[in-house]
Symmetry: D2
Subunit: 240 residues, 4 copies
């Protein structure tokens, strides 16, 4: 019996640092040893000026001394894209070689723009909302395939087959759990590419589902690094 | 109409460097400017001693000044593992968002050890050959699921759905093409983890299919960097 | 007036994570979503077994979800080596372009082995203690040069010269402050190369002064990740 | 007897790839297996459009399948900045631990803007040309200090001191040889930060001497990747 969902879950497991660490790290360059005396979180206005300057002038290293660890539950096709981010990203993912994967699969919500309007042209894909019946047909098609895939997977396991081989029929729409650790700099680079925002200096056209996950990460990032996040947005979402 | 295959194709598209570059780069540390005069490929014995010393003492950087670019055609479940190699690896892969994926799917050859013999215990999985009928059943299960997946994929595309969503039912056993560029150091790190060899100092237990791809890369690496490769093997397949 | 010192200061500014994070990250592979339930720090023995297994089998990624930030005050010749560690290391260093460097310089302590005993042979340099008068001569030579260097630096600044040019006469023995952020995996890689320990599987012969700094980092790492550190030592100080 | 120079030498030791490799790698995403058929170098106009699009949309990975190796002879203060470029850069540098460093030191040419005009304000330092006598004084100061430094270095070596310690008085103005390997993407990132160009979208204010070295690298890059370089310039020198 398979289960389906449209939810892509992101939880913050652990984080350390904050805007004050960005400021303190940046001040090492001009104050040397005394950079040990953290600027207090109170001196907000001065910090905002410095952080905005760092983002604007693309001084990226001060944003590397903090850390965020997310737990993310998402379909494999999201991981396929996410794992391409190599620098400043660490991953530990559920393994189909060592455990039986859960029968949980992705179905798009009806408000996900999904009708292709410009053929196969790469680059700036545009999509419109589907009519109810088209969306229903799509979900039926996916669910039908998901169901048989998982039945065959279980049949293979019942034969005693290597789970790393038995799973070859499982679709990229199946869910997989992964821990993701990054720093504010690598996260901003990820957000600049994986969140669509018309106000970006370099507008990106990511897949809907990774955009959903990225926005969830962004809101947690914003909560912990409000000044840094504001500077990122103000400067056209270009990662420093 | 789907096609199936057991082949995992690896071709060398481009390479540059060789053992002489390893030697010349290493000599920068002791000879400075005159390191520009490459040691000629003829002075093999002396080079072999130096390269063996570099590998043994884990001086890794001289192995980074060469480059290999592979074209690899492999199932998605192989890419899922390969792309986890972040450092010294560059990738460009076929995109399901921008083209219709070909109906080519993986089936294991009958001589692939595939019968689980130690339950779900992680770490050092062991597998035995399958009896003919079990292998046939597995292939039938996979092919049946593959076939329906691709039919549903085509049905989704026919509805005009975003190809990046229509493909969610496609299995990890479908083939995808990718360019992979690395250097001898990053390649040796990959080989140390993705080739099973009982003579390794740290024996690894990779998935059969990525082992096949890794061995193909290794033979091309050996052809171009014979001294480096010999030192890698001699020193227990530990990447410097 | 210049000042000299033999001290290389390392302070832990910030850290997050611990052995329990290593265990929890590793368990994502086999338990998926339930990996959110951290193993409690109490279950020490079981964790020790798992962590030892991860180090031994070189499963490195679970060690990347923690973070340590050090403040280090060390001579430039130490930074010249440290900054060669590229992966999993972040730096913000004092800048001679934007501030006047302090007149603080390194002199070796008398118990630093410093007499060359095997000529210029690279690889496994050996040193013995200096006789008192030789050590004194060395310190006098260094201090004499340090002093003139700083006088000329100040003279250049007094001329109104770009500080980034005025400093060209300053020696690599002058102190510089730097923030260093890394994770347990990248730190273990650093320690395996920059601490001399005869019990290492691959014995390294680092410069004395970076060895001093590395040992200070190691003791702070050991305090926060005692099980991981014990496994690192037990497995011949090979970074997973 | 010391020698001084204003030259910073950059030579291309080895390179592989070219604009055609960028195009072919990019086409993997849309053409899969047939991406093996390289676009011929003749189809220049179409390639220029595609490459410009990749740079503009910040699709960076196709620029990673080529490689350039430079031999660079530069003062240590240049290496101090260069080595901070961690990603996509490989280095092998002359070692003061294993060889006696040559007595070659940097003096600025008279046309190097060097008079500070805005105090210690970081960020956008401005410099004017020096009057002849100021430049002469600066060079005398530097040379005087260089000379004593090297004499003390030789005295230390004559005492039989560890070369890695004896060199602590040597200045950051001494020359050091290094091999540098990078790819077009990492090189463009370097150029965007280390070349001052008013036409840049994010104008950078690098140190004069690393700017000289970077421009030399850029001209060799331009010669081998003319279309890519033109797209980089056209798009405001923002690395994709």
């Amino acid at each position: 019996m398979i289960k389906t969902t449209s939810e892509i879950a992101v939880r913050l497991i652990q984080s350390v640092g904050g805007d004050h660490m960005v400021v303190a790290a940046a001040k090492v360059s001009t104050s040397g040893e005394s950079a040990l005396q953290f600027s207090s979180p109170e001196s907000g206005e001065e910090n905002a000026g410095l952080i905005n300057y760092l983002v604007k002038m693309r001084h990226g290293t001060p944003f590397e001394h903090s850390s965020l660890t997310f737990f993310v539950h998402a379909p494999i096709f999201v991981w396929r894209e996410w794992h391409r981010h190599r620098i400043g990203f660490s991953y530990n993912e559920e393994s189909g070689r060592y455990k039986q994967l859960e029968p949980l699969f992705y179905l798009p919500p009806s408000n996900r723009p999904m009708m292709k309007v410009d053929g196969w042209k790469p680059g700036r894909p545009k999509f419109e909302l589907a009519k109810e019946d088209v969306w229903v047909s799509l979900c039926e098609n996916l669910a039908k395939s998901y169901k048989l895939s998982y039945e065959m997977y279980e049949a293979n396991l019942a034969l005693g087959i290597d789970p790393g081989l038995a799973r070859d029929c499982l679709p990229v729409g199946i869910y997989s759990a992964c821990w993701v650790t990054c720093n504010p700099r690598s996260l901003m680079s990820f957000l600049s590419l994986r969140v669509h925002d018309e106000r970006s200096q370099f507008v990106s056209y990511p897949l809907y589902e990774i955009d959903v996950a990225a926005r969830a990460c962004e809101s947690m990032f914003q909560a912990g690094w409000p000044i840094t996040h504001a500077a990122f947005v103000k400067n056209g979402r270009v990662a420093p």
